[in-house]
């Protein structure tokens, strides 16, 4: 297996609060890695360290190495802005820009990188919306506000927005927690398709979801990586007692 991302000895803090301890993990290219664990164990913090979003929180800091394609993204000469363009993120709560149209939401990232050609923007907007399985529902309303969509549609709009800048990696932080089963299964199907081209990491509280979509699963507890392996193995024969307890619902 080929690692897209290799994390070495990652630690993270909020002020004096040490929330991630010595994380080492390899994330496979063109696969889906699920991050599971009880609330507050540091899942969001972990994925936010992968695209340097952690440090935008006041007083938050991180140390250690996160190698993406062999380069450490925490190197002093790396601009976090470039990292975030290459590593997209979809948040728990759909967050389209409410004052922008659906079209403008999708191409917001492209416009930031200086793409002006209207034909190109339109083309990419359509492609991204198609990939996010939203095109058919919105193709006649591209000029409507992004906030006019339902929660599930908004989340797919956010996925389209992340796809439009053509990142290599997309991080999902509980993308379905606010969605109904139908929207959830649409997003799951979408992830299965996306993994052909992208490397995906998904934080989820839903064990079935982790089991359904992911190839690898990491179990976090109290800021530490307890167990990491193929999803099948983690769910069928966990090595650690605490992993088993969590999966069958004994705590968390």
């Amino acid at each position: 297996m080929q690692n897209k991302i290799t994390v070495e000895n990652l630690n993270a803090w909020f002020g004096a609060k040490h929330v991630l301890h010595n994380i080492d993990i390899g994330i496979q290219k063109n696969g889906i890695t699920a991050i599971i664990g009880p609330s507050g164990c540091g899942k969001s913090t972990f994925i936010r360290c992968i695209n340097r979003m952690h440090e935008v929180v006041p007083k938050a800091k991180a140390s250690g190495k996160v190698m993406v394609d062999g380069t450490d993204i925490y190197d002093s000469d790396i601009d976090p802005v470039d990292i975030r363009r290459r590593i997209g993120m979809v948040f728990q709560k759909p967050n389209p820009f409410p004052t922008m149209s659906i079209h403008d939401n999708v191409v917001a990232g492209l416009k930031l990188s200086g793409v002006k050609d209207k034909k190109k923007l339109d083309h990419i907007a359509e492609e991204s919306l198609k990939k996010a399985a939203l095109w058919d529902e919105v193709k006649n309303d591209l000029n409507k506000s992004g906030a006019s969509l339902s929660g599930g549609q908004q989340q797919r709009l956010c996925i389209a927005r992340a796809l439009a800048v053509e990142p290599d990696v997309i991080l999902f932080d509980e993308p379905c927690s606010a969605l109904d089963p139908i929207s959830t299964s649409k997003i799951e199907d979408l992830m299965m398709e996306l993994k052909e081209k992208y490397t995906l990491v998904i934080v989820t509280h839903n064990m079935q979801q982790a089991a359904r979509v992911s190839d690898y699963t990491a179990f976090f507890l109290y800021g530490k990586l307890v167990e990491f392996g193929e999803t099948n193995q983690i769910f069928k024969k966990p090595k650690e007692k605490s992993t088993e307890d969590y999966i069958i619902g004994r705590f968390g």
């Binding site: 695209n51 979003m53 935008v56 802005v81 997209g88 709560k93 820009f97 992340a162």
Partner: protein, 319 residues
Amino acid sequence: MDRAKLSFFRISRSKLSGDFIFEAVIGFFALGIIILAFLLFRELFIGSALSRDIFGVGFLTSSTWDPVAEVFGALPFIFGTLVSSFLALIIAVPFSLGIAIFLSELAPEKLRTPLSFIIELLAAIPSVIIGLWGIFILAPFIRDYLAPPLSTYLGFLPLFQGPMYGLSMLTGGVILAIMIIPITSSVSREVIMTVPTHQREAALALGATGWETTRIAVLPYARSGIFGAVILGFGRAIGETMAVTMVIGNSPRISESFFSPSYTMASVIANEFVEATSKIYISSLIEIGFLLLVISFIINIAARILVWKLLKVEGGGAT
């Protein structure tokens, strides 16, 4: 069982009477203010009856202000008030936005509170002091250093033609701008700070820089609230009396040039009320007061509605 019921009753009764007194007192004060405002309105309306009878709608469109002949028209004052306030806005808005963005997005955490405090403190300077400063420092400064380049480079516009003696529409506008910057900037700052983190993060996660985040996520989200803050400042500028009276020149003429003296509604009332002897003179001044009140009411209500609308959207999103 009975006892529990009883004590429950007692608690709820004492709570009820406390609530009742509280509500009655608050209600009395609130009602008092409303009644006061209403009486004020009524008083101005009655007081201006004579002027309305004699001049009718023409009062709004006539620009003759001749106490000797007892012919009165409010247009120069309405013009002076609106133009000086607009001018103030044009100057104040960029500054206020800059201050608000700096204080909410850029300034180091430690500086934010003291800096916002200082800016809000500016609003506490008595306006007569600002007026004095305007007469002795600002007016000569504008006459000597601001007006000459303006007439050199923009003199082809009628706005910047003619002689400039210091006391002018331009000076009035600048003074008003200085006076409204504290309110517009602090309300804008508050509005900007209500923009939810998830909006900023949406932009950052797309690879936006700090300034791009402000531009694509923060300002658009806050725009109606910022607009409200601006209108609130406009309302302030319209009603401001002392400082602007001291620097605007007090001449009831309508001129195209910002260099000419002008006169505002508030200033004419303050200046001429004491010397107004005839009934119609007084009544005309009262009618100007009535118009001023109506204009300020409308503008302030519009501003509040805009700010509330934004805060409500934000509150709804959070739940």
